[in-house]
Each structure stands twice: as structure tokens, then as C-alpha cells.
């Protein structure tokens, strides 16, 4: 949370803005001695505001990607801390590991008791290593599965927060059957009778993201991305070049608005200007509002047509995905 209060580190495409901000700061210092500079200051501030607006309304896909991967972007624990300071964390898969890349907890969202399952990237170097840079191992998905079953048993709605480059590619992960762990989550999550709402808060990396993304409603934060493979992976396979990441970003249609147009997600949630890392509390409040709205709609559905309707709603949603001539 402390990072949220810190000044946001500017990204590459934000450099002109950062330069302008520095000039304004310098001018403010001089203002005490030279009151006649006030006109200049106001002009520059206006320039700053209009540049900021135009910059963030014309973002390229790769700029969205940069914001989604911003090192100060709020993660699952940041959102949980803002939603419910007394949330209770549930650890472990009961089978041999507690994967820090997957965070599960009992959370009070307004008047709803909810199970939240989310990926966690980690902030400081040590924490990043513990969290495997947000790439869950099979044990992480099995922990999620345990909590999915817990939710089903106690009739608790599920909220998932997705921000992962993908499932962890590694020796032990393969030995412990990463693919099966993901597949089983798709299998089980499709059949629960409680409302499930998924939110992509940063990067939605392929199967590793979908393993907690089989939901009645899928929403994405404005600058988040969701794709079948990382743009780097795509560029190196199809273009055979690491310089073509921007082209790959463009081609894959991975930004929130593009995916909304494809009909895969239900809503794009606005972020504070410049991205969620500029205002943690604002981003958390927007996201919570959207999540609670969808959860309540689904609860209504369950109340009117029974809990099985919630399951059918989810299965029908996924049944319709695909394009064919």
C-alpha cells in the first residue's frame, strides 16, 4: 500500500508529461521571488492537463501493456486491503505447498461475504521471488480449487482477480502436472452453483489466467490486457523477432476495449487517469463497485431461478464463444 502513496514512476511514453511536470515544479519554486510568473505557470498547467488527456485517450496497445505491467500497479493484496482491512487469508493446498503467487481469502465486500482468489506478483525483489513474479505453480491452482470447493459448500460467491504473466513454466511445475491443475480448475469452476465474477486487473496471461477465469461475468480494468500468449512469446514464434512486440500487441487484440468488442468480457472498468497506480483507493473503489453490481445481479438470478441457473448461465456463456464461417 505504501507504494501507492509514492510518486508514480513515469513510463517511456509518459516522458513528455514528466518533463512538463518538472518544469512546472521548477516554476513553482521561482514563483515566490517573481510573482509575475503566475501567468506562465497557469498556462503550463493547462498545457499539462490537455497533454495528459490526449496522451491517455490515444494509447497504443503496447502502452496499455506497459501500464498493466507497471511496477507500482496495485495487486490483489492492495485491493483486498482497501476493500476489507480485516480480511482473513486462507493458506495452502493441504497437500504440500503454499503458493504465494495465489492469494485466497474470506472478504467482506459491502454486505456480501465473498471468497476472493487472486494472483499476486510481489513488490520488493524478495517478495517477487517468493511470488514467482506472479506465476502460480500447480500447487497454487490446487489451493484455488480448494477454496472454490469451500465456496460451493458454504454458498459463498467467488471473485477472482487476475494479474499474471501466465502459469509458471518450470521443471517442478511440469513434474507436478501444471496442465492437469489448470484443466481441473476449468472443469470444477464451470460447475459451481455460486456466482463467479472474474476481473483482469493487470496481465491476463493465457491458461494460467483462465484457470481462475471461468466466470459468469468477466470484467477488465481499462488498461489491463488478456491474451492467449504473451506478446513477447507471440513475436518470437510468429515474427521470429523480439523487436516485433508492438506489432504482436496490435495484432492479438489484447486490450480491454478490443476484447469487449469481441464479446468475451462484460464490462471495462475505468481507472483513475494515468492508470490504477496513480490512485489505489480510487481504483479499488471503482473495481469493487463493478464487482458488487455483478454479484448482486447474479444473486438475483439465483433467487428467481434457483442456484442451478447460475451454473447454466456460466456454461451457456462459454458455450457461445468462438467464431466460424
Amino acid at each position: 500500500m505504501a507504494t501507492g502513496e509514492k510518486k508514480p514512476i513515469p513510463l517511456e511514453f509518459e516522458q513528455p508529461l514528466a518533463v512538463l511536470a518538472q518544469q512546472i515544479e521548477a516554476l513553482e519554486v521561482q514563483l515566490n521571488d517573481n510573482p509575475e510568473l503566475e501567468g506562465d505557470l497557469e498556462r503550463m498547467q493547462e498545457q499539462y492537463r490537455s497533454l495528459k488527456r490526449s496522451l491517455y485517450t490515444n494509447l497504443r496497445p503496447i502502452d496499455h501493456l506497459a501500464i498493466a505491467r507497471h511496477q507500482q500497479r496495485p495487486y490483489t493484496r492492495d485491493y483486498l486491503g482497501h476493500w476489507d482491512p480485516n480480511w482473513i487469508e486462507m493458506h495452502g493446498d493441504r497437500k504440500g505447498m503454499d503458493d504465494a503467487a495465489m492469494v485466497c481469502g474470506l472478504v467482506q465486500m459491502d454486505d456480501l461475504q465473498v471468497i476472493v482468489i487472486g494472483t499476486q506478483k510481489g513488490r520488493a525483489i524478495k517478495e517477487k521471488q517468493q511470488c514467482n513474479f506472479g506465476m502460480p505453480q500447480p500447487e497454487g491452482y490446487r489451493k484455488a480449487l480448494r477454496l472454490i470447493k469451500h465456496a460451493e459448500k458454504f454458498g459463498l460467491p467467488i471473485v477472482t482477480l487476475i494479474d499474471t504473466p501466465g502459469a509458471y513454466p518450470g521443471l517442478s511445475a511440469e513434474e507436478h502436472n501444471q496442465a492437469q491443475a489448470i484443466a481441473e480448475n476449468l472443469f470444477e469452476l464451470s460447475a459451481v452453483t455460486v456466482p463467479v465474477v472474474a476481473a483482469v486487473t493487470g496481465e491476463g496471461g493465457s491458461g494460467g489466467a483462465l484457470a481462475i477465469g471461468v466466470a459468469n461475468r468477466i470484467i477488465m480494468l481499462e488498461h489491463s490486457v488478456y491474451s492467449v500468449i504473451s506478446p513477447e512469446g507471440c513475436a518470437s514464434i510468429l515474427w521470429r523477432s523480439n523487436d516485433k512486440v508492438s506489432d504482436a500487441c496490435q495484432a492479438m487484440k489484447m486490450t480491454a476495449r478490443e476484447i469487449l468488442n469481441l464479446g468475451v468480457i462484460d464490462e471495462v472498468v475505468e481507472e483513475p487517469l494515468g492508470g490504477a497506480h496513480h490512485d489505489y483507493a480510487g481504483a479499488a473503489a471503482n473495481l469493487k463497485q463493478a464487482l458488487v453490481k455483478h454479484l448482486k445481479e447474479l444473486e438475483d438470478l439465483g433467487q428467481k431461478q434457483g442456484r442451478d441457473a447460475i451454473r447454466r448461465d456460466r456454461q451457456n456463456k462459454f458455450r457461445l464463444f468462438g467464431a466460424h464461417g
Binding site: M90, D98, V194
Partner: protein
């Protein structure tokens, strides 16, 4: 005993010169002062008890008996015991260096309990629940027919009365003196818990120092939520047995609550001071959700 009594005793001893020559008996000394196992600090026992048997210096959690546990966990005066009179028999006529009935008497004399578990109903933070507390101080908290029966009965009671269930484990494992009948308690308790779970009951398992063997391998590990106390040793086989079998030195934190947390086997480690609040909020969280989803089903 508190300091006042101690001074009174000392005064008595001084007046009676014969006794005064003798050193203070161990029992009396131990009742007044307790040495912390971890930091070796001498603690005034009454202070220690007021701190829920947690060392104020190093935070070491002392073993906690069933009655103390109920006092620290349940709302004052809310506990009502069930099956208080149940006592073990001696189905195998078991004799090792001493006969089993003699050992039972000895255990009861030391612990002041009839058996190694106390069960009943209480409220925690105003939330009604069924509770079972094991006591390591009675026969090493071992599970024989009576412990198994009482745990099973409290589970059935919780199911019938739609109460959440809390079981505090502290045990060396199954009771050898009742042989195969003890082993069968693992299956009996687990099967009752399966019924309870399918009826939608919430079961919170608390693992306290120490929890081993057949108790870990049955009801202790079956909680919807599993909480462990800091530093508690929890496992299936004991450390010495493992070391002798595999002939390797084990890590120093092996089988501690924190080690289990790292290895995904418990949901959370909670300090004794915060335990009551945590239990209350867990029960309340699930109860509110339950009311909601039941309204939905109708």
C-alpha cells in the same frame, strides 16, 4: 498459589523450626514459578496464566489444558458440558509395566479429568457452537474408544442442531492400551465428519502443541478451516522415529506450525491472544453467507 500464600507458608515454616530446616518442596516452588521452555525466563505462574499461558517475554505458547482452553476461548459462563461422565473400560485387559485401569486412575489423578477430551456447547463472541477440547495432560491426549466416541457424538450433535463445530486437538495419537479399537476411532470420527460436512456444517480444527499420529490422520486434518497455534508441533510420525528411520538430521523447524503453513497444510497460524476473535469472525462470516444462500434456494 500466589505470593501471599507463599509468604504465609514461609512464615509458618519459620515459626515451626523443624520444617524450616528443609528446603522448599519442588511442587510448591513449581506452582509459584514457571520457567519458559524457550527463553528460560522465570515467570510468575499467576501472570503467565493471566496471559493465557503465553510467555510475555518470548511469546512461547505453553501447552494449554482443556479447561484452560475453554476458559480462554468460550464466552464466560457459556460452556455446558455433554457426556461428562463417560469413562474408558479395559477391553483388552491390557497390562504393560502396570495395568491399564491403574494407569487410567493415575492419569485422572494428575489431570483432574475423566478422559482426554471435553465436549460441549458454548458461545464464542456470541456465536453458538459445539466444541471439543483435547487435553495432552491426560494420558498424553491419546485417543481411545471414549475420546473417539465423544468426538463422534459432538459431531453428530452439531449436525442435528445445525451448529458450527470446533475441535481443539492436542494428542500423541491413538491409545495403544485399547489396541485395534483405538485405531477404529480414526475411521469412526472421520465418517461422522463426512456426514456433518455433507449437511453443510462448518468445522474449524485447531491444532495445538502437540498433535500427532492417529488424531492428525483423522479429524484434526479434516477442518474446513485449519488453524494452528504458533510453535505447535504437528505431524504424523514423531521426529525421533523419522530421524531413526531415514538416518538424516531434520530441519530445526520441522513439523512446527510455521513449517506446516509454508507447506500448505494449515490455513493460518493464530496467536492465542487473538484466537477467540478469529474464531468468532470465522463463524460469523460463514453463518451470514449461509443465511443468504438459504434465502436464495427458497
Amino acid at each position: 498459589m500466589d505470593l501471599k500464600e507463599w509468604f504465609a507458608n514461609r512464615k509458618n515454616r519459620k515459626e515451626n523450626k523443624e520444617v524450616a530446616k528443609q528446603p522448599m518442596p519442588d511442587e510448591e516452588y513449581c506452582a509459584l514459578w514457571t520457567q519458559c521452555f524457550q527463553c528460560r525466563e522465570y515467570l510468575y505462574t499467576r501472570d503467565l496464566r493471566q496471559n493465557q499461558l503465553v510467555c510475555p517475554k518470548c511469546h512461547y505458547h505453553f501447552r494449554c489444558g482443556a479447561l484452560d482452553r475453554i476458559e480462554y476461548t468460550a464466552d464466560a459462563g457459556s460452556f455446558k458440558e455433554i457426556d461428562a461422565e463417560m469413562q474408558s473400560s479395559d477391553p483388552l485387559n491390557f497390562i504393560d509395566t502396570e495395568a491399564y485401569p491403574r494407569r487410567q486412575e493415575e492419569a485422572s489423578r494428575k489431570s483432574g479429568l475423566k478422559e482426554a477430551v471435553i465436549t460441549g456447547v458454548c458461545t464464542i463472541g456470541g456465536n453458538p457452537c459445539a466444541i471439543g477440547c483435547m487435553d495432552f495432560g491426560h494420558f498424553g491426549g491419546s485417543m481411545g474408544s471414549v475420546v473417539g466416541e465423544k468426538v463422534t457424538r459432538i459431531t453428530e450433535y452439531a449436525k442435528q442442531n445445525h451448529l458450527p463445530l470446533i475441535i481443539v486437538s492436542s494428542s500423541g495419537g491413538a491409545r495403544m492400551q485399547e489396541g485395534i479399537l483405538s485405531l477404529m476411532q480414526l475411521a469412526k470420527t472421520s465418517s461422522a465428519l463426512k456426514d456433518f460436512s455433507e449437511a453443510g456444517g462448518l468445522y474449524i480444527s485447531l491444532l495445538s502443541e502437540p498433535t500427532f499420529g492417529g488424531v492428525t490422520a483423522s479429524f484434526a486434518m479434516l477442518g474446513d478451516v485449519i488453524i494452528a497455534e504458533p510453535g505447535a508441533r504437528i505431524g504424523f510420525a514423531g521426529r525421533r522415529v523419522i530421524e531413526q528411520t531415514i538416518r538424516q538430521k531434520l530441519p530445526s523447524d520441522f513439523q512446527t506450525a510455521e513449517y506446516l503453513l509454508k507447506h500448505g497444510q494449515v490455513d493460518m497460524v493464530v496467536d492465542r491472544g487473538q484466537l477467540k476473535d478469529r474464531l468468532a469472525s470465522l463463524i460469523a462470516f460463514h453463518a451470514r453467507a449461509r443465511t443468504r444462500s438459504r434465502a436464495q434456494a427458497v
